[in-house]
Amino acid sequence: MNSTDVESAVMMKNMGSTSNGAPLFNEEMVRSELEEIVGMDHVSTERSDRLVYSCDWFWLPQMWLDRGERMPVPDYVVHPASPEEISEVMRIANTYDIPVVPWGGGSGSQGGALPLYGGILMDVKRMNEIIEIDETSLTVTAQAGINGQQLEWALNEKGLTLPHYPASANCATLGGYLAPRGSGTISTKYGKAEDLVLNMEVVLPNGRIIRTPKVPNHAAGPGFMNLFLGSEGTLGTITEATMQVDYLPETRLFRALLFDDLSDAIEAGRRVMTGRLDPTVIRLYDPTETGERVKKILGEELEGAYMVIGFDGDEDLATLQEEKAMAIFNELGARDLGRKPGEKWWERRYDFYYPPQNLKFPWMYGTTETVSTYSNCKQIYHEQKRAVEEGYPEWDIRYIAHFSHWFHWGTGMYSRFLIEDPPDDPEEAIRLHNRVWNTAITAVMENDGMINEHHGVGLKLARFMRRQYGEAWPFLETLKDAIDPQGLMNPGKVGFGR
């Protein structure tokens, strides 16, 4: 079977057709209907588009393409310009039982935007308008397809900022910030994307366009907006959101420190957080990452656990907060490396993601990030590190981690495994990749951690959701069935099937 046959077979299955010659006929019929809605220029069945939209930022599909293999491709790439158009697209999807995969920036690392079952890939980037910037309430309302950095630049022109600074800001969309419950570099002070959203407009799988209440902190019934935060397009398509913004800070203070012992450093972070010192960022690298990545990107050759701490806002207040944090660090034996390396880290914080400094092929890698309470986080780190490093001696796995998103009660750990010489055979590579993931995530779940803090579930972690949620999982499935009875929305993701 050649690739075209495969594509057609997928579509025939989706459309319930079995007769020879039907696929092209069906394709053209559906295409015509889609073109009626969004215009001829905004529906593509071109091979180039199908290829490019077959892969997001998940290592597995990238590896699969890297080895010359083909991914499942969408049957149609559709660019709607409004929620009304999305609603109409959903009508077609319901009529013909066609899967729909919302697509923002395609920058998710979990395979959340992969069109596993073909169907309609709905790229929302045409919906990129800023609706309103309210400089009194400090909110911005924008369409979900707006690019994160472009939104930030627009806010900066008014002295404002959306304090969600993910490494993917250059490529992700506003909807993509929210759908997987993303975190940014300064989430420790300002919260995750989900903490910044006031309300959202969503197109439901049945085509209905709904808006959540104006503000989230109310007592007028359940906060159902949260259903869509983390749903990753499985319960609907986010089309617009109102976000809380802030003034650009008067000052940003950064400082680097070095701890001999990682546990002391975690304890230092815990005391800063539980003491409500309100740092903008605490970035704590384990000794391995300090020795490798920090050295490579920042040029600092150090042994121990490298920490960057930042405070922002009013200069006097930030200075005082920093002083109080430094007292804690001194007590725990930290070496103060001064402002310069901290400022350098801030300037270069995204350099890690540019080629050739990023993780890259032929390496195999995965970010097994997690979040847990302070009582569990050290145990998770040590157990995950041991399990991954010792479980696959033949593959010489390197394990690195940093703690980057801190809460009053715990911290997110951004751990990664790297195999520099993985199997050449793509199928073998998938199996090894998934085995290492099983090991890493099992260590998390056995120690009361969450399987993910901010990248989302997507396809990558879907198989762990039943275990993560236990008895609560059927409840989530019931919600999914009620909202999307035909299972059209982003099938195969977040643990929901087709």
């Binding site: 593509s44 071109e46 091979r47 180039s48 588009d49 290829l51 490019v52 939209y53 892969c55 930022w57 990238q62 393409l65 010359g68 083909r70 790439v77 660019h79 697509w103 920036g105 395609g106 920058s107 790229d123 980037k125 045409r126 990129n128 397809g145 690019n147 994160g148 950095q149 472009q150 630049w153 627009a154 022109e157 993917s168 800001a169 250059n170 490529c171 995204y350 350099d351 993601y353 540019y354 080629p355 050739p356 400094q357 990023n358 890259k360 092929f361």
Partner: protein, 365 residues
């Protein structure tokens, strides 16, 4: 010359870090037409996963090659150069869009894509030369006339070279490196014969073509003993020295300087051009476009004007829409090619497009 430049696509195919400044992606919203999408196509073709067909080649030729991706890449990956190299392979396989071969013929015969006319010979010898190019000759002669008037006002009477000749960028971008090389060498020959120690250029595109592209893409180094300078830089310097002045016009309402095509490749363009604009129109009436300076997006005067005219039009309209959205009533820019495209659509946006040199020449005091 950058060795194995096409390998850059291996880095860029899965990197999304310049998406926010990708001009074509921004107007088409197609992932395929963003830098990583085009790189993915090249990388996939090299793996035998796709072939160069009408569809895939069209996508390959929709890449703007304006320099935005490289300007915003922390490690300066030369993706534009890689795409040009990939296009040259497509040309060699006879799979490029037909218009590319038509342009090739024109560039070989007439040394420009606009008119069936050979370049005029240089005007003589002297210490300062001015590269005229094809756009100022065939599309916007008023820009050249104004620039010459301004130069004469500061006692510079340049030797005109490259009169009607492309600077080589178009050929390079289309994947015609040998033709690009011939064009650049012809200009350098004229430059050498002129005896000039300074070459002035009208626009960032020319500056890039001679100052960077020729070396990186064609292996032709810029002569060490010749200074390359934009007319805007020179005039701003002369204005600061008091050698030239302008009368202000406060009647026109908000104005904006539009960083023209290729400006992101020439950061030295931004400030002098604005200083000059500010000499004519009050700074209090100045507004800035969203897509400016280091994130400046191009107008349609790139290879896409021929290979994807719809994309070129969208780029040009996006510049005018940007001006409209910030309340600009007048848009100034120096580049004759950008001006040609902008002027074509200006009336639809209620914006007046003015050549910077034309405006300055009219207000010389």
């Amino acid at each position: 010359m950058i060795e194995n430049v096409i390998d850059t696509t291996e880095y860029c195919r899965h990197c999304l870090m310049c998406r926010h400044v990708a001009p074509v992606g921004h107007v088409t919203h197609r992932e395929t037409l963003t830098p990583h999408g085009v790189a993915q196509l090249v990388a996939s073709e090299r793996r035998g996963m796709i072939e160069w067909t009408e569809d895939t080649v069209q996508a390959l030729y929709a890449f703007s090659d304006n320099g935005d991706s490289r300007a915003h890449c922390v490690t300066s990956q030369p993706l534009g150069e890689a795409i040009a190299a990939a296009r040259s392979e497509v040309v060699a396989q006879d799979k490029a869009p037909p218009v590319v071969y038509e342009l090739h013929d024109k560039l070989q015969r007439w040394e420009n894509p606009h008119e069936a006319a050979e370049p005029e010979p240089p005007t003589g010898e002297g210490d300062v030369a001015l590269f005229v190019g094809d756009d100022a000759t065939h599309l916007r002669p008023s820009t050249l006339e104004a620039a010459l008037a301004l130069l004469q006002a500061v006692d510079i009477d340049p030797v005109l070279i490259g009169r009607g000749r492309s600077n080589g960028f178009l050929a390079s971008s289309l994947g015609l490196p040998s033709t690009a090389e011939a064009l650049v060498r012809a200009t350098l020959q004229e430059l050498a014969e002129s005896g000039a120690s300074t070459l002035l250029v009208l626009a960032p595109g020319d500056y890039f073509a001679f100052g960077q592209m020729s070396d990186e893409r064609l292996g032709i180094p810029w002569p060490d003993d010749v200074e390359l300078l934009e007319v805007t830089q020179l005039l701003a310097q002369k204005m600061e020295e008091g050698a030239i002045g302008f009368s202000q016009d406060a009647s026109g309402g908000p104005h904006a300087y539009l960083d023209p095509t290729h400006a992101v490749r020439v950061p030295s363009h931004y400030d002098p051009a604005r200083q000059l604009a500010g000499a004519v129109y009050p700074d209090t009436d100045r507004v800035e476009l969203f897509w400016r300076n280091g994130r400046a997006h191009p107008s349609g005067n790139l290879a896409v004007q021929f290979t994807s005219p719809d994309v070129a039009d969208q780029l040009t309209k996006a510049r005018l829409k940007d001006a409209q959205s910030v309340g600009a009533k007048r848009v100034l820019t120096a580049d004759p090619g950008s001006l040609h495209h902008l002027a074509h659509h200006a009336s639809s946006f209620d914006v007046t497009v003015e050549g910077l040199f034309e405006t300055l020449a009219a207000r010389r005091s």
